[in-house]
Symmetry: C2
Subunit: 355 residues, 2 copies
């Protein structure tokens, strides 16, 4: 299940096609799977969970991080991200009664995630697998399985499986109850994704400024912190850039020192409380003369460039599903400019096996 050696043929064709599929995948998830996700959530909600654990690696870890904010803010339950090594390396068997354990994985095939879920289930947790492969070992090991339904993903850099994971997790948390979130709030999402993807010219115009860069910084706060992390990973995987991702607050606690006029910064700041809280960070970045690209910023914002994200009418919690789209496009365009085939980056395989 590697992507095969597609270099040469039509570099980036797989990634471009999968990026383009996202509006349809989001629409299908809403139309065909929201009901099933709601049924699973209703059954899960019937148990009295006190705490939520989330596990993932790579791109799926960023989906887990997004879900952590959803749980923290909307379920009023403390949540944590699992370090799979505690079970795989240290053999821990914690008391997980009353714990909801959610594993996120495109392939459902990484041994450490499977081990972590199996351990969690045997230690009393309610286990849910959110995956693009319902026939996977992870899915078979879980009590509940949420199919993100993104279809076969062949490019090594995950794109459509990520946004599908985010939406599936949104629908799941929205249906767990005790929240102001609702599945119907996501109805305009597919059209908004289509509109955001249609601004391809804007992305093509900013790509050349990163052509000769070896390091850059991405940043965001709240729900958009996951976008900053995932955007950085796309740029590392496909463009071999050293892309450092920080929450807006963490950036101020030390890393700001390395920002200079030669360090480009991509800041995610769509309208909402997370985006608003980026204001003092953006001011400091301007003071440091950073090359600043705002994803989701308003025209006229204090930045060197702005990439619009069509968030109008959508609540802040859904913005990450859109924000990542131009960053996927940027990674694709920049990889091609730098002579890399983003469908098959060096040193990576589609299913990463870690222990």
């Amino acid at each position: 299940m590697t992507s095969g050696n597609t270099s040469g043929a039509d570099p980036g064709a797989l990634m471009a096609a999968e990026i383009g599929e996202q509006p349809q995948i989001l629409a299908r998830l809403l139309a065909e799977q929201a009901g099933e996700i709601g049924r699973i959530a209703a059954e899960v909600a019937g148990r009295d969970h006190r705490f939520v654990l989330l596990a993932g690696r790579g791109t799926s870890d960023h989906a887990a991080l997004y879900a952590k904010y959803l749980v923290d803010v909307h379920l009023g339950l403390p949540a944590g991200l699992v370090s799979p090594s505690t079970s795989t390396i240290y053999g821990v068997r914690p008391d997980l009664r009353g714990v909801l354990h959610v594993s996120v994985s495109q392939s459902g095939g990484s041994p450490d995630l499977i081990d972590s879920l199996v351990t969690a289930r045997s230690c009393g947790a309610t286990t849910v697998a959110v995956t693009n492969n319902v026939g996977s070992e992870l899915a078979r090991a879980a009590e509940f399985v949420i199919d993100v339904g993104a279809g076969s993903e062949r490019a090594v850099a995950a794109t459509k499986s990520y946004t599908a994971q985010l939406l599936a997790l949104y629908l799941f948390v929205a249906s767990l109850g005790g929240s102001t979130l609702s599945a119907s709030d996501a109805a305009p999402l597919a059209d908004a994704a289509q509109a955001t993807l249609q601004d391809a010219d804007k992305v093509a115009a900013v790509a050349p400024r990163y052509r000769s860069v070896s390091r850059m910084v991405t940043t965001g706060r709240g729900y958009s912190y996951a976008t900053a992390r995932e955007g950085a990973l796309k740029l590392m995987e496909t463009c071999y850039l050293g892309a450092l991702a920080f929450s807006g607050a963490d950036l101020l606690h030390g890393p700001m020192a390395m920002i200079d006029s030669e360090t480009p910064v991509i800041a995610v700041a769509t309208p909402g409380r997370g985006g608003q809280s980026m204001a003092p960070v953006l001011t400091m970045l301007r003071e440091r003369h950073a090359d600043l690209l705002l994803v989701g910023g308003q025209e006229g914002a204090p930045a060197d460039d702005v990439i619009p994200v069509h968030t109008a009418g959508l609540r802040e919690e859904l913005h990450p599903i859109l924000e990542i789209l131009p960053l996927q496009r940027l990674a694709l365009a920049l990889a091609l400019e730098r002579g890399v085939n983003p469908d098959a980056p060096r040193g990576l395989r589609k299913v990463t096996e870690t222990w």
Copy 2:
């Protein structure tokens, strides 16, 4: 309480002095504060906690990460790192009955950490502040205060307060019960720290290889993941390097693609299960022709260079307190080589206020 403008006078003198104080601070913590920490732990342990939350920013976030592994592995309780923005930006008031909430902060002065702790306490959590400033607002807001006793820290880049936080957290978790950890296991620590610091020649010898580097990678697993994160932050703060930190497993899930012969990697691999689990990562790094420095590796290890860490006789859980010492020295030496005064990095103040 900023470091003042000490540039010019004797660059790096503050940081060098504070690095050198660490063996004595560790010895004093063990001799004079272990008893008080044990008493606090006994009182905390008397309550029936189901879950542990840890909060910190910057260096203190890395101490919190270290403590998360201790809690996961040794208390058999699920644990999570707090995203302070959930209370400061989103105003969340979760149900935290049965939750132990530990805030780590050198200064005790960052508004978001104070807000997070105040919220946690009012929502039913047992709150503990681990701080170097027992007169701080954070300390006043907490039900229990653990003084890390590192003395006044004047260099902006935290060094001695970090190792003191780690040891205080170790002693706290060791005394919470239900664990094989014991305070007496830490007895050889001060001597081991002194011996590790005496290998200064080795650090001075490797510093020049990073003189002209703009990005690098640090990595470690298990307890040593915190070391990789903190080492990267020191290099960012004092040398303005783009230092990317990954757990050994996360490095394989994507970022490995950007590793090439021009990307130096510092891998932390002291003896123990975390270090052993780095073996496949080190093999891949060699295959990618990365410039590889092993911190805590054995002589003859497959690396371009090795910096010894004197861990003999000390359990794996205590290694991070030693592993960071040569990395602090490296950051100091490299900053001076690059013409930066590490006592007062550009754009930073000693107390970072974030919301």
